[in-house]
Structure formats: structure tokens, C-alpha cells
């Protein structure tokens, strides 16, 4: 019965509080790191740490560490699908021009913004 199919880990509240404290330390690093204004440091502290935090939450709080392996495969397949959609559309969507085509709307948007740079936003 389902009630008897439980995760194998039996960590206590103290363990979860330690994981939470670790997540808070990582949160502080991700806020302070980008303040130095170094591009690589910002990427590592903001996005690298976001990945680490997500893995900690998934592994320990969601109990993915002790979950059946096929759940990991299922979630990774979904992530792969996202990247496939991205790769399929990014080559066009990330450009405003290409061979024998131009995205007038994108150019218009860029021009519009050039005209409004430095101005305060009005509702």
C-alpha cells in the first residue's frame, strides 16, 4: 500500500534546519557577490549559486536523493525538451536580421528605446 512506500531517509528537524541555514548563507552570497561589479563573479554568485540552491532543495527537501531514479530521468527529459525548443527557435528569435529577412518590429523597438534612453518612465 502507498502508505508504506516511504522515502528511505529519516533525517530529523535539526538536519532540515541545517539545510535551511546553508540555503540562507548561499542567499547572502548570491546578493553580496554581484555588488563587486565583476561580470564573472556575478555569474558565479548569482546563477551558479541559484543552481546549487535548487539542487539542495530538490535533493533534501523534495527528497529526490532517495526517490526512484526514473523520476530524475523524467525531470531531466523535460529540461532537455526545454533546451531543444530553445535551440530550435533561438537562432532566429535572438537576431533582428538574417539572410533575406529582417525583423522590422525588433528594429523599431530598438530605435524607440534609443530615443527614450535616459528619460524617466511615464505611466
Amino acid at each position: 500500500m502507498a502508505e508504506h512506500v516511504k522515502h528511505e531517509d529519516h533525517h530529523g528537524p535539526e538536519f532540515y534546519i541545517k539545510i535551511w541555514a546553508l540555503l540562507l548563507v548561499l542567499l547572502v552570497i548570491s546578493v553580496v557577490g554581484p555588488m563587486f561589479g565583476h561580470r564573472i563573479l556575478t555569474l558565479i554568485t548569482a546563477f551558479g549559486i541559484a543552481i546549487v540552491k535548487a539542487l539542495i532543495v530538490a535533493g533534501w527537501f523534495m527528497h529526490l536523493k532517495t526517490e526512484k531514479k526514473y523520476i530524475w530521468y523524467m525531470l531531466m527529459t523535460m529540461l532537455l525538451m526545454v533546451f531543444m525548443f530553445f535551440l530550435g527557435t533561438a537562432s532566429d528569435a535572438m537576431k533582428a536580421d538574417g539572410n533575406n529577412w529582417t525583423n522590422e518590429a525588433a528594429h523599431k523597438l530598438i530605435e524607440q528605446h534609443k530615443g527614450s534612453t535616459g528619460e524617466a518612465h511615464k505611466p
Binding site: 548570491s30 523534495m62 525548443f85
Partner: protein
Amino acid sequence: MQTPIATGRSVTGIPTGRLAVWWIVGSEIVIFGGLLMYYLMLRHKYDFWAESSEHTNTAAGALNTFILLTSSLFIVLAHYYAERKDHIKSFKFIWFTIAGGLGFLCVKSIEWTNEIMHGYTITSQLFWSFYYTAAGIHAVHVIAGMVIMGIISFDVLRQKNMHRVELIGIYWHFVDIVWIFLFPLLYIAK
């Protein structure tokens, strides 16, 4: 009353209810993953994106991250006590989690009110369209989680369907993970 099939069947090695929640999480990965990819595309395409994102409130974003991480701790503790049939403590921690969700929404509404009053609306610029769409969809998920937790909590109090605490916990942690990625995108990468 008849026990739901998802409660008592486990042909895949894990309870069917839990498997269903994992499928929900899988489909949510595509939804939020698509949003994040959209961010990457536009960020690289338009130089002015970074300028627009300078006006978000990092302190509010960090406070909301703290609140969601703490609420994740509360729901994992609710699950811990539910597994040990301590329904009172489980009920209590579920409501601490709901309070966390409410705190998150309060901070968000104050933040949005401030931004809208300064003229940063969903139609003002591309970045702000993304900002309100991504944070708005996330907030809807927070509200949905709070409502489901509220319903589950009263079952827990009657010591019924205690396993559902784990199921809503998986969902809530995923909502937390989405925010973990939205936070640097919206508030840090300026």
C-alpha cells in the same frame, strides 16, 4: 468512504499520487523553463534590457527568497511530523507555510504597487512585460499551493490522508525552486 486509487496503488514503485505530482512538476518545468529561455533570448537580443531591469527592488526580492526558503523548511517539517502521525504539529507547520506564502504575496503586492506608481507597468517596456508575467505566473502558483495546503490541513487535523502533506510539499518546493531562479534573473542581473 472509498479510498482514492492514488492513495492505495503503487505499481511503479512509488505511490501513484506522488507520481502524479512529479508529472505536474515535470510539466511545470516546461512552462517555467520556456519563460527562462524567453528571458535569455530577449536579454541577448536587446541591449536596453539591462537598463530596464535596474529599477527592480533587490531587497524585496531577497526578502521574498528568505520567506520562501523558510516556508520550504516549514512544509518539510510538516511532512516529517505527518509521517510520524503527529497531526497537531503537522497541521501547525502547514499553517506556518501558508503564512509564509501570504508574507510572500504581501511583499510582492507592496513591491508591485511601488513599481506601478513609478510608471513601470506591464506595457511600459519589454523587461517589465516579462517581469510581471513571470512573477505573476509564479504568484498564481503560490496562491494555488496555499489553497491546497489549507484544504489538506483540515484532513491532517482529522488524521486523514496524511500522505498528502508530502505531495503538496513536493509542489511547494518546486515553487520555491522557480523563485530561486527568478530572483537572480529579475533582481540581480542588472
